[in-house]
Symmetry: D2
């Protein structure tokens, strides 16, 4: 079967969902989720014989006898601790905060429900909050994003963590509920990423909700939900929009993607970047970051952009601004970073040359219309973890 006799290889998670996750940037931390995932996997498979007992049925207990958590496998704790230690070295701000104010316990009295990816960097945040006096219970905001070894290390350290990689949807809500249901536990703050804990709280625990001192929300989705609440006059407490703070928009987006675009594409495809022709759809912070590092590796870059200011910036930065159709037949790689849906559609994909790589750097699942490739005449072949070959 063939798509005009051409092949389009790109990254997809698995046949059952439409997300493109492989080359997708972790929008929350500088660390490619895929890399974390990979580490976990190889470690698990190498050092532990996997059992098939459902996680929620396992006996959960750390070396101190503490058992108020639910994670994949406590035996991964040492590996997870080393991962956290690596992350600590990259997070001098939080580490220095610990040293400076640890003794005063400025967060004493804070009872925080956290709902974020459980990765090494968030573990550094969790342990910092703890060392400053906060009490907390934590779950994952995404069924795929937990590093099991990090969960184990946190559980070993005595944190009530409810998360594992590959939760079912039912598991997902069960974990969130566990964060609300602690013994003598009256949470007064939510640190959310996506708004699920916040919404759950409002729906299921209205008495807790109305007594919250505050909410911190990071994602665009979560922020939209909060604005809805605000409009409906149901947002009763201060909510901090972390999503728009300068250290996220300027740093997380730009500087993180500058590195992760390289690593993710390299990991998935082993291609050499030098002399590759690339079209970058979108010249916002993410696009700017990607262009910078790809330029540094000798790529020939085109940019598509509908915002006139961003388009002008692309020009002034030395990138030719084009329409996607003008270059789609010649490029080796298409990267989307617009935040809009259907930026790359079947019509574009039909014109791509064989082996063209398509990758999504933004948070939108539907920026590339992958569903349009699920047609009978096309054959999907999984060639690597998170990479499909379509012809």
């Amino acid at each position: 079967m063939s798509l005009n006799g051409k092949e389009v290889s790109f990254t997809s998670s698995d046949a059952s969902n439409e997300k493109i996750t492989a080359a997708k940037m972790p929008y929350k931390s500088y660390r490619p989720r895929s890399v974390s995932t990979c580490s976990t996997d190889s470690c698990s498979s190498a050092s532990l014989s996997e059992d098939d007992i459902p996680v929620r049925s396992k006996i959960q207990q750390n070396s101190s006898g503490f058992s108020d958590f639910c994670i994949k496998d406590i035996r991964l704790k040492d590996f997870g601790r080393r991962e956290i230690e690596f992350a600590e070295q990259e997070m001098p701000g939080l580490m220095s905060l610990r040293k400076q104010v640890m003794e005063n316990k400025p967060l004493r009295g804070a009872k925080i429900i956290g709902c974020t990816p459980i990765t090494a960097p968030t573990a550094v945040l969790i342990e910092t909050l703890g060392s400053l006096g906060a009490e907390l219970r934590w779950c994952a905001c995404n069924i795929y994003s937990t590093q099991n070894e990090v969960g184990a290390a946190l559980a070993e350290a005595g944190f009530p963590i409810f998360a594992w990689r590959g939760e079912s949807v039912d598991d997902f809500w069960w974990c969130i509920e566990k964060c609300f249901e602690g013994k003598n536990w009256k949470p007064n703050m939510i640190l959310d990423d996506g708004g699920d804990a916040t919404n759950f709280c409002q729906a299921k625990y209205p008495s807790i909700f109305k007594n919250l001192i505050g909410i911190v929300e990071e994602s665009t989705t979560g922020i939209h939900r909060l604005y809805k609440l605000l409009k409906a006059e149901k947002l009763l407490m201060p909510a901090i929009n972390i999503n728009n703070c300068v250290t996220k928009t300027k740093f997380d987006n730009r500087y993180s993607c500058r590195e992760s675009v390289i690593v993710s594409l390299k990991k998935c495809t082993d291609l050499m970047f030098g002399a590759k022709q690339i079209v970058l759809c979108g010249y916002g912070e993410v696009g700017k970051g990607c262009c910078q590092s790809l330029k540094g590796l000798g790529c020939i870059i085109y940019v598509t952009e509908i915002d006139p200011i961003c388009a002008l910036q692309a020009c002034m930065d030395g990138f030719k601004v084009v329409k996607l159709n003008e270059v789609i037949r010649q490029v080796d790689i298409v990267i989307t970073a617009t935040g809009n849906k259907n930026v790359v559609v079947r019509e574009h994909m039909d014109k791509m040359k064989s082996g063209c790589i398509v990758c999504c750097m933004s948070y939108c699942h539907n920026e590339i219309d992958v569903a349009a490739l699920r047609t009978p005449e096309l054959k999907w072949e999984k060639v690597r973890s998170q990479v499909d070959h379509i012809r």
Copy 2:
């Protein structure tokens, strides 16, 4: 135990040898050996139950009944074929050569013994030679460098391949011998990488040696050996020094390392490059390539260099040229690319800050004096594949 209370984490293969291989560049192809390795491993462990039968005792047979080969596991053939297909896309020169002259079989009569890494790119070379009419038998030039899935794909395609990842030294020489011992096989050329096949031929098969039409040698080591033969008037046939050709020195060294330094360090350490202080020892082609991509990712780079022209180039390229001792206390990463031994010694390592990463980009095993860290007061901990933490 402690090294002045500091930690030096860097890459080492395993306790039994002194080589630093993790962040070390594949000097022969653009593809980090470590990455290949990893792919192989995870694939093997995921999809096949490993048996412990020694490779040489296994029954070796492909789907056509052909059995003149010795590889790890023929079942890896499909995975290997996809890897080769990926590589083909990156090697338009060879692929175009196949098309242009395939029918004329210009290599008819060539009987080649090959001794190189068995990776996807070399598979493209092997299959090109075959399609142009050459006969060949091939083994690995290094006990670690075989991608087992690529060996399987080549065996499936009918090539007499003798190589697997993790050969013993005895296996290594057995494989080379198998390349000489084919049925009705009168090899007349050697394509060597390191000189082992050439030396073996001269010592064990003098009658073949004296009838060789020619030798191709890629590595510095192999070239040195050929010059010795030449001096002793024992080099009886033309030998082509691939090592010094411009497409190797200018491209392989510079442009490959420009990419692999990023990927290898990222893979091993997950660190963020932006704002990291790095000292690059040596500003030859490898050093120039590394500096370019690291600069593109926002690193602050210092260079050490003893050659005045290269030092001047580093200056003119905007890198401060220093002595290693001037910056050793402040840098986050030390990268060596000099080709000399003992560039980074214990004295330097004692001064590094905690968590400083040390990595070797050149071919020399002893550029970093790792042996000097094998002292009783230092504790080595393996934290990831090919990464040790020393404190």
Copy 3:
């Protein structure tokens, strides 16, 4: 005489004022004022014998007999026209606007008083306004910033221009007044740069002021004045703050300075940039632009910055962030782009090495404390136009 036996050469206009104008960027256009100036000078001196008649006493008349203007020398008109034509090629936006709406004369009825530098780019603006139907009278906002040849070309084209290079302060206000005093002239808009025309209007022509339809103001100074008026409830009409628009802050500051820092320093000093150590004080848009081009020419760059976000950006862009005192003894060039006063003071200058170049890229006259160098033991020698050597 000596400053600790060292020499500090930098750019200064002349002994009678404290401004550093040579290497200072034109904050209003992409074109270094110094270059324009130079062109003018050499042209004048080469092709015309300078007379010493005061400009206001000259007979002013163009080839059509029109005489409602006051400029240096109408004979410069052809040279000025070519300069304007050059500028037109660089200003496709305005040129395209002319074509698109010229026939509709959408600015019919607009009676504009303009007070800006009279340069080739502003001439393109002036002629565009005219071609769209506006009536206008124009003067200079700065006694130094007029290109006499451009004034001549505009006068020849029939525009009432009142400006020349080297006006006295009395001339300056006389020229502004001439813009208000046209025959049958009821101005209804002001296009201002610095606020002088606006303030003059409010003070001297209150009846015009209260009937103004609107004001456009570009400079920071002028904006401050408008806010004062607003606070005093005397700003009776809409005023557009051009100063803060994104095409100024992002483009004019960053991309213009990226080029002008190179050209201005090169013009003044003939130095080679490669391998020069430079400290850039301030990493705002101007600093970012300067760093980018200087890095592209192989400079080794340090940054000083007090804003934490900008400092972090400098780090992530690969520039070492330091305190000025840490590097002042070693750098070859000091560039200020902070917008603050006394960033470089005598104490720093006493530590600089001989021949260190000091240059100001921002609009502030007192960013470098030049006055502190007017001490008896220091000898100033003018070595080139706008460059002094101090020892």
Copy 4:
């Protein structure tokens, strides 16, 4: 008249010759000749009333009464001395050599005839040779390349200099002869740039020629002449080929042009580089240098190249390699750096868009076929010094 209704503005010296000199790089020093020239001109015209006495008829005497020289105007000496002092700061190698070995006078006995451009940098060389003990007499190798103020400073310092800007051809040879005709002067070395002094010596002073200890030659032309002599067995003494030394090919060509391409184009045209489309013909050292700095200023760059290795390097450095005809209609600037003739011909120029700038960065006068534009239907207009507008 018109060239397909288009305009091609580029740099030409004057109507009487076909050389393009404005944007042409000084291949001998890092300093754009045009800039020097300009400084001289404006200084002369500003501070001195030019007399029309032929230089050779002037009374030549410095403040010490020394008169064995022939220069434009001794009154320029102070200005020239400052220019030399500027250059000294940029030439730490020679300056440090002076300090180290000045006392030993290692060049005692050297009697050197020099024939080079007389610029500030060569003055530093001349004075260094003198301070190390050499005797010398010096003339210009080019009728245009003398900085008169530098000649004056050298004459004031007691050096026998015979050179001025704008020599006639007769003057040129008279000056060379003066270098051979000193009192009690037995030259034993020639430092040549172009081979004119060497050839003159061989033809007119055979007795001096055969006793020469050695020759140093810098230019390609001069080297060709020496090879001819060698072939004819007339090269009786060692001759050093400076032209091919690494510090010239790698540094002078690459790093100097990296800066001078920017400054020269800016000076001639005032254009903004950001977002300009540029085609660079030739990716040798000069081309590489130009591309680097133009890329740093945000240009969109195409490369034409016939050498496969250089073409591959251009690709790997991120520049699209094209044929000139593919991009000639869209580019804003055409830069030649091939060293071949007729790289840009009338056919290309007919296709360029209006206002396209054409500039030659190599040493070849005929790289751009300017003569082909001297046709009746084209009107040449000199718009600035060294810039013509053709339509």
